[in-house]
Symmetry: none
């Protein structure tokens, strides 16, 4: 018989992630340097000492938090990509819709971007790891579809095919826009995405 997982034990197992969730909120609110671990602890419902039981330093808390919050996108993308059917154009359109939705509208994703930009100088490893685990796979996914489209004669062999990042740039812009202006300057996300897709597909199209 497996040992009963008591509530206490369960909570214990969840502590680190509760702390990281709380840390995320506080770091979002105040930035890395201005965040007090004391506030993180309070928000997580523990005390300062407990944080130090799980994490060595404030830097470590920050790093782990970024990792913790970065893990949600990738699996979803891969699964989604497998469901794509139809022409390269249709598949690219699907990919864009999915990715834009995540990059531009997902709050956590957006704030992680802010952290990386703001504190990247202090945490270069974090940035590089993020690139490997998050950015590169997305780019690869796009590149694959585009290459297939070129091979299939749907897309012209545009120079942009060698800079797949360009395809993601409107989403990044949207994300930045949101980081900068919050709710002060709202953008019509759907219309913006539509316009971007239209421009990109026309730009890639043969003829």
């Amino acid at each position: 018989m497996p040992p009963a997982v008591t509530k206490r034990a369960r909570r214990k197992a969840e502590r680190p992630s509760e702390i990281l969730d709380a840390a995320f909120e506080e770091f979002v609110l105040h930035g890395y340097a201005a965040t007090r671990l004391e506030d993180v602890a309070t928000r997580a419902g523990v005390t300062k000492g407990t944080i130090y039981f799980y994490f060595d330093t404030k830097e470590r808390v920050f790093e782990e938090m970024v990792r913790h919050k970065s893990q949600s996108f990738l699996p979803g993308l891969k699964d989604y990509a497998l469901t794509l059917r139809g022409s390269a154009t249709e598949r690219l359109r699907g990919l864009i819709a999915f990715t834009y939705g995540h990059i531009a509208e997902n709050r956590e994703s957006r704030e992680i971007l802010r952290f990386l930009i703001a504190e990247g100088g202090r945490f270069p490893d974090l940035v590089d790891r993020h690139y490997e685990e998050f950015v590169a796979p997305i780019i690869d996914q796009f590149r694959e579809v585009i290459d297939q489209g070129v091979a299939a004669g749907e897309f012209r062999n545009a120079p942009a095919a060698g800079f797949t990042e360009i395809v993601m740039s409107p989403a990044v812009l949207l994300s930045l826009w949101s980081l900068l202006f919050g709710t002060r300057k709202e953008v019509d996300f759907v219309a913006f995405t539509e316009a971007s897709v239209d421009l990109l597909l026309r730009g890639l199209a043969k003829d």
Copy 2:
């Protein structure tokens, strides 16, 4: 005889801008919170007290620094726009080349963007002012050319014409790329710009 500008007076007049230049470098190096005004002072060749003679608080130093460093682009853009000749396509190409060069390659411009992303929550007025004085005029400049191209029948009336920001998004991506990876992942700026221009102009072109 013109009144002799004494060495002391000359230095005095330059002090604030010397301090702001030093502040820029320190803020780039360490970020807002981790920058010590003492280091700014040392870099500027003065003492802490002198900074406080010219600026009330560290926040003020930061704000003034951002303003100080933001003033270089606009006049150049307007002047350049006046020299543009040829078709809307040619003019748009020129505008993109000029703007991308500034946004993506100019170090100060790029670091200002980092400051706004990182500290925008603390300085929303700064962000909004930056939008008014810096972002909006650029967008307007692009919109004007695109509208003319549409009116002249060179460009189709793409939905992207209503979201001129999209045209700038590859430049913003480049800028961010540089902020994130510094010299660790270099991008061929010229080729990237070429690819973007190609994609955009094809995307906008009639037919």
Copy 3:
């Protein structure tokens, strides 16, 4: 077995009052503004940080210190008043002796007066609270005895009966004298009190 009060716990419970005692001495020595919390800490045998663990600001330390040091007189007065016997004259004499002894000779009481005079502008609430908790009850105590004396026909209904504060004024003068001249100009406290009592009682006496 009673729960052992550990050394640590005991010390912890006493910390705030140890800090306030130390603060009192330092504030007496240098005044509010010129007192360094660092010195208070050293005197209390702790470090700066500890003070801030218990008190938010220097102002708070000052306020709490005044409260802490103001609490000793009142209970004694009430108890003492209950032991008074004899004619109103005798009881008034007893009250005066007791009160003068406290106001004029008690060092803490005297220095609190100095603090209130010196820093009252910055801490009006402190002054008002002191009045309610300290001054008013004393005045009431005197008023009661005087009124009884008037009712009993021992005292004439002098206008001073309506300004009981007058009865305390020699004690306040003594207190001030001590604050101003310290040991440089000693006053014979007993003789002074005797003279005051003599003057007051003669002034109040019927006929």
Copy 4:
């Protein structure tokens, strides 16, 4: 012909006293330590440097200010005393009325008292000088009249005759009251003085 005193020269001669007047107001407002010489300068319509031209240090400014503001009472008292006529009782009553009016109601006199209490520890010479020049002469004036009253058989040889300060104590109390409570607890000055005089004269009277 005497040299015309130009406005500039006249102003120059008045500078130190203008500075001391301004210093008085600032010291009243903030206390010694919290007063900024910069604010004194602004109030006096000069700059910081000018203050240092006339006074060596902030301490000197404070000391000179106290002297400057202490000089107004004495001559008036002596002149007034010379006009007193009638019985010792009448003369004492007159003296009390005059002195109380000054001590208790004169703002400058009252604030000087506050300065001496608050900063006496730092400026003992100032306190002693104030005693010699201000307090002692007043006491002497009272003692003279009281002694004359005793000699003339109007007053009994009360022990209080040896502590003339007692006679001034109600005035000091009033002054302190005002320092502590400002306008928050007003006292009927005339009635209070009447009650004090009544009590004192009855206390001193023969029979």
